[in-house]
Amino acid sequence: MGEPPDGAPRTGVFARAWARALSGTSYLPMPQAQLETLLQRLTDLLAQTLRTEPLDLRVGHRIATELVAAHIVSAEALGRTLEVVQLRLLRDLDLVADDMADRMARLLAAVATGYARALRDRTLDEQETIRRAAMTAQVEAEQALRASEARFRHQATHDALTDLPNRTLFGQRLAAAVEASAGGGRRLGLCFLDLDQFKRVNDSYGHRVGDKTLISAARRLSRAVEPHLVARLGGDAFVILVERSTGTGDVVAVAEAALAALSEADVVDGNDVAITASVGIVERRADDTSPDELMRAADTTLHWAKDAGGARWELYDAERDTREKARRALSAAIPTGLERGEFYLDYQPLTSLQDGSLLGVEALVRWRHPQLGVLRPDRFIGLAEETGLIVPLGGWVLAEACREAVGWSAATAQPPYVSVNLAVRQVRRPDLVQEVRALLRRTGLPPDRLQLEITESTMMSGAEEPIRTLRALADLGVRIAIDDFGTGYSNLAYLRDLPVTELKVAGEFVRGLRAPEAADERILASLVSLAHALNLTVTAEGVETGGQAERLRAIGCDAAQGWHFGRPAPAVNILARVKGGAPC
C-alpha cells in the first residue's frame, strides 16, 4: 500500500487498529467493513478537531454518542478507545503541535464524559422499555387468565350444544330466586318442558338433524319466553324459571308461549321437522317451597302431561300428587309385605241354590299392613296389576289357597273347591301351566278342587296364547270360571270354543232383581238357559237378600255368592259352619 499525500490511508491504519481494539468488547451488530468505515469517519473527526482552534469539545461528545448509537456500549470499549487514541492517534496521523498533549487530554475527557452520558441514557431507556414490556405482558397474562377462567366458567355452566344454561347454573339461579323471593310472600313458577317422542326425530333423520333441531328449539324457546331463564337439563328436557309471578296464569302464559314457539314449522337441513312438547307447571309462594320441591313437583306434573298424550301443559295438583305418592309407597311395600307374611286369605262361600250345600269358596286376599291396618284387595290389587307385582302376589295367593284347601278334606266329607282369581299378566306368563301342575303335585290337591277365575277381557284380547293356556289348564282337570260376566262384551258365542266350566254373573245384574218380570230378570233368565245349553254352570255374585236368592233359584241359577250366604272369613270359620250344618 502506497503513501498518498493526503491523510486518508493513515486514518485507515488507525481505524483498523481501533476496530481490532474494540473486537470482543460487546456485540457489534455490523460487518467488520462497516465498523471500519464508521471508525474511519470518527478518526477524521478527531483529527480535524485536534487541528482546529479553538478546540471544540462538543465533537468529543458527538463521537461518543455515535459510538453508543452503533452499539459500541461496554466499559471495555470505552477503555480501549481511550487507550488506542492516546497511544496511536498522534503518531499514526502525524499530529504535532505545542499544546497537542493538552488538547488531546481535554478532547478524550469530553469523549469519556459524552460516552458515560450516552450510555447512561441508553441504559435508562432500555430499562424503561423492558419494564414496560414486563408490565404489558403481566396485564395480558392476567387478561388471558381472566378470559380463560370466564370461558371455563361458561363451559361449566352452559350446555355445549345449545349454549343454554345447564342444570348446574339453573340450580344456582333457582336457589337464588327462591331465597330472594322468600319472606315477602312473593311467588315463582317452573315449567318443565320435554319434547314429545324426540327419539323419533333422531331415528328418522339422524343425530345431526336431531342436534340441530334441539339447537333451533332452544333458540325459539328462549326468544318466546324472554326474559325468563331457560335451561337445558339434558336430552330433550328444558326448564323455564318464572320469577315474580303474580299467579298461576302468568306461568301458564309462559308455557303456552313456549308450546306455540315449538309448534312452529321448522326446516332442518331440508327436512320438515315437526315437534310438540309437554309441559309440567308448578307455581307457588316462595315461602312455601324449596328448589328441590319445585323441581320434583314440576317433573311429576310433566309426567302427567306426557301420560295424558303430550302436546299440552298440566298444572301441578297437590292432592293428585299425594294420592299417587301414597299409591306408589303402597305398591313399593308389596314385596316386603310378601316377605314378611303380611298377606293372608279369607274365603267367601259359593253356595248351591238347589240344596244350600257349600260347593266352593272364593279366596280373597287381605293385607295386614303394619301402619294402615287390614287392607282389602281393592286398595292394592289394581296397583299390583299396574306394576306387575301381581305376578308374585297372585302366585302367592294361588299357592296359599291350594295349601289351605288340601286340609279341608279332613274336615268334611264333601270339601269345597277353592276358587282363585288370575290376573291377565298371570295368564300371559308362559310358565303358568307348569306352575299350577307343580303346585297340585306338591300340595296333593285334586285338580277338580281348584277353580281359576279369569275375567272376560282376558279372553277377549283375541290372542291365541291365553286360550292355549286355558286348554292346558282345563286338561289338568282344573275348573275354569269366567268372572264378572256381563260387565264386558258378554259374548256367549266365543264361550262355546273355550274349556270353561262356569260363568260368574256380576253383582250388577243381581241388584236389578227386585220386581218379578223386570228386564234384568228376563236377561238373566235367558243368560242362564244359554249357559246351560253350553254346559256351563252359573253362579250369581253379590247376592244380598233372600228375595234375590229366591228369584235366582226360580230362574235356574246354579249357585250364589254374597252376604246373604256368608261374608268372607277365615277358612276355619266357614268349615265350622259346614260341620255345624248351619243353614245357608
Binding site: 456485540y27 467488520q32 432500555e126 414496560r132 414490556a133 405482558a137 395480558e140 380463560s148 377462567e149
Partner: protein, 272 residues
C-alpha cells in the same frame, strides 16, 4: 419453560422474579433489557463459564452472517423461532437493509420478550410477533398472523438459533423440525445453532453439566452428529455444521479459537 402444573385453561403467567433466558442473553450481548434476577443468573453463569458473553456474541454474529447469506441467495421471508429480546441486529434489520420488502415473523415463548418485540416493531412493515412454543410447530404454522405474513408456497428461511438446547430429547426436536420442514416450499432454508460439547473430554463435559444443572434452564447440549442429523431432508450449505465463528467468517482471524464459542451452527437448503 416452566414445568409447573396448571389447568389446561390457564395461560402461562408472568414471573419477573425468575431469570429469563431471553433477558440473560440480552445481558451477554451488552444490552440493558434485563432485571436484577437476570443479571445475577448471568453472573453466576459467567463465574463458571467466563466465555458466556463471548458465546452469545459469536452466536449472534453467526445469525447476522446467516441472514446476510440468505438475503444474498434471494430469501425474502423469515420465520425466527426463539427470537428473544435483543434489539440490536434483529433479523428484519439485517434482511431489510438489502431486501426492504423482506418479511419476518418473530416467535418466542417468553411473554416479556414478545411484549417487548411488539413495542419495538410497532409500525415496522413486514414484521409480526407471535407468542408460541417451538414444541408446537403445528400451532405456529397455523397461526393466522404467521399465515398473513408469510407465503408458504414460496421459500421461507426458518431460524432456530440458540434455542434447540432448551428443547430436551424427550420433546422430540427432530420431529418438531420435520413438522416445520413439511410446511416449506423447495428453496426454503433452515438455520440451526445450539450449544455443543463436541470434542470436549469427559472432565470438561462433567464440569459444564454441573454448571448447566445449577441454572434454571438445564441445557441439552448435543454433538455435531446430532445437530447434523437435525438437518435431515435439507442440503447443508458450505461449510456445513461448524463452530459458529467458522461459518463463513468475515476475516480468517474471526475463526480463530472457534471452539471457545461452544455453539455449533449451520444452514441447510430444502432441495427441489
Amino acid at each position: 419453560m416452566s414445568g409447573l402444573q396448571r389447568p389446561d385453561w390457564a395461560p402461562e403467567t408472568i414471573d419477573v422474579e425468575r431469570p429469563s433466558v431471553a433477558r440473560m442473553y440480552d445481558y451477554y450481548l451488552g444490552g440493558s433489557h434485563n432485571f436484577a434476577v437476570d443479571r445475577a443468573a448471568a453472573q453466576t453463569m459467567m463465574a463458571a463459564v467466563p466465555e458466556a458473553p463471548l458465546m452469545a456474541q459469536a452466536n449472534r454474529a453467526f445469525l447476522r452472517r446467516a441472514v446476510q447469506y440468505l438475503t444474498d441467495v434471494g430469501i425474502r421471508q423469515f420465520l425466527d423461532i426463539g427470537s428473544g429480546i435483543p434489539t440490536v441486529g434483529n433479523v428484519h434489520e439485517i434482511a431489510q437493509r438489502h431486501t426492504p420488502d423482506a418479511r419476518v415473523v418473530y416467535v418466542d415463548v417468553d411473554p416479556v420478550a414478545v411484549a417487548h418485540s411488539r413495542e419495538i416493531l410497532a409500525g415496522t412493515d413486514g414484521t409480526t410477533v407471535v407468542q408460541e412454543d417451538l414444541r408446537h410447530p403445528e400451532r405456529i404454522l397455523a397461526h393466522p398472523d404467521v399465515r398473513a405474513t408469510l407465503d408458504f408456497s414460496r421459500p421461507v428461511a426458518v431460524l432456530v438459533v440458540a434455542v434447540l438446547h432448551f428443547v430436551p430429547d424427550h420433546d422430540r426436536p427432530a420431529e418438531l423440525l420435520r413438522t416445520l420442514r413439511a410446511a416449506l416450499a423447495p428453496g426454503s432454508h433452515l438455520v440451526l445453532s445450539q450449544a455443543s460439547d463436541d470434542g470436549r473430554d469427559d472432565a470438561e463435559r462433567a464440569e459444564a453439566e454441573q454448571v448447566y444443572r445449577r441454572t434454571d434452564s438445564p441445557l441439552s447440549v448435543r454433538s455435531r452428529a446430532e445437530l447434523t442429523a437435525f438437518f435431515d431432508g435439507f442440503q447443508l450449505v458450505e461449510p456445513g455444521v461448524v463452530w459458529v465463528p467458522q461459518w463463513r467468517p468475515e476475516t480468517p482471524e474471526d475463526a480463530e479459537d472457534a471452539e471457545r464459542a461452544v455453539f455449533l451452527g449451520g444452514v441447510g437448503r430444502l432441495g427441489g
